[in-house]
Amino acid sequence: MAQLEGTKRGPGPGLDLGDLPPRRRDGAARARPAPAGKRPLSRPRCVLLWLSLLAPLWALSPTVARADGPMARYQGMHPLSPHQGAFCYIDAFHMHRVPPPDQRVYLVLKDGTNVFIGDPVALGYDGPKFGYFGPHPLAIADAQGLPPTFCYISGPHYHAAPQPPSPSLVEKDGVTWYLGALPPPADPGRVWINEVHPIASYVPPKVDVSMAPPGYHPFPYGLPATAPVPPSPAAPKAKPAAGPGRAAAPRPGQPPPAAAPRVPSAAGGHP
């Protein structure tokens, strides 16, 4: 840009009289200069002229017009890359230069906006929190065009906001349980949320399925929507999940563990 400014402001350094053609130094030339259009240009002026002509093209080139390309769109609070404890507390639509590093904890709206749907506390959030156990309907504020959404986190976890009152949501000992119908079949990608590792300092709600309110039934993973909801007599005893605090979720192409309803553990299930 400095070159452009120099062009606009006139001759820059080095354009002294010594650079002008000799005929410009005689008195006649000074007294009666030739028309600008017919006067031959000196080499530096010619270079500047070409630079000024090329400047618009240079300015329109992608590397200049877009510093880093379109920014990533986010709705609401979310963990910051690389999901090691830093958190963004902007609870409105906003944009970041950095896209989400892990899509397992995001829904993507039609316009490309990323909506965080995981356990915020497990990824560094330290604001007000509300405990949940197992999958449940998930109301997401200000996310237009989003169909009814479920949280598929299998065990105890948190969200930053309470869910709207519903007969199928029962709170017991500070933890909300979903007693409603089976959630829609989970997109395989959605249950991967259970494979996301929490930060080291994360402590999930101290609750397990044995503390469930009457009528609660653990939700199996990967069942089709038409599958019967397994009866919910005595809830089985919680057992440690596989891996670091969680069990592996089915991946595309793998048979869903429909025959064995998954029992979330007290430690597992968080993102």
Binding site: M71, L80, C88, I90, H94
Partner: protein, 149 residues
């Protein structure tokens, strides 16, 4: 005719010329001056809310609003964040101004950008040097902005 009567009678004639001259000079200026929009939160109210929230708003200044198709804008830095507050007359203008702000972020190095509306007042905040990586200061400003009537 007393002095008073004479002065009263002549006063309009005497002051008419300077008045006309003043109007002729000032009317174009008044026509160019962008005014606040009624029915939406004013930029003054927004800055007052920020000030009440503990932010230093002394670096905010009135700026030319035409770039955002707005009627009145203030811009400057608050907590090292670039802040723009604009009042719009129409919803179309508001949408256009918001789009213009977002397009601008694609072309410069902005780490975080927020655009929020309250009525037909727009608040845009850009963090260009990670001064507020967690967005806590931005969130406080957004809450103060949302709370405006």
């Amino acid at each position: 005719m007393t002095y008073d009567q004479a002065s009263l009678a002549s006063a309009p004639r005497l002051s008419a010329r300077p008045l006309t001259l003043a109007l002729a000079l000032l009317l174009p200026l008044l026509a160019c001056r962008h005014s606040h929009v009624s029915g939406t939160a004013s930029t003054d109210a927004v800055l007052a809310a920020f000030k009440d929230g503990g932010f230093d708003v002394t670096l905010m200044n009135v700026v030319e609003p035409d770039a955002w198709t707005a009627e009145h804008c203030v811009s400057g830095k608050i907590s090292e964040l670039e802040v723009l507050v604009c009042e719009f007359k129409t919803d179309e203008g508001l949408a256009g101004g918001s789009d213009e702000v977002r397009r601008g972020w694609d072309a410069v190095n902005v780490d975080t950008g927020v655009v929020l509306h309250n009525g037909r007042t727009m608040l845009a905040i850009a963090d260009r040097a990670k001064h507020d990586p967690s967005g806590r200061a931005i969130a406080r400003m957004l809450n103060a902005f949302r709370a405006l009537p």
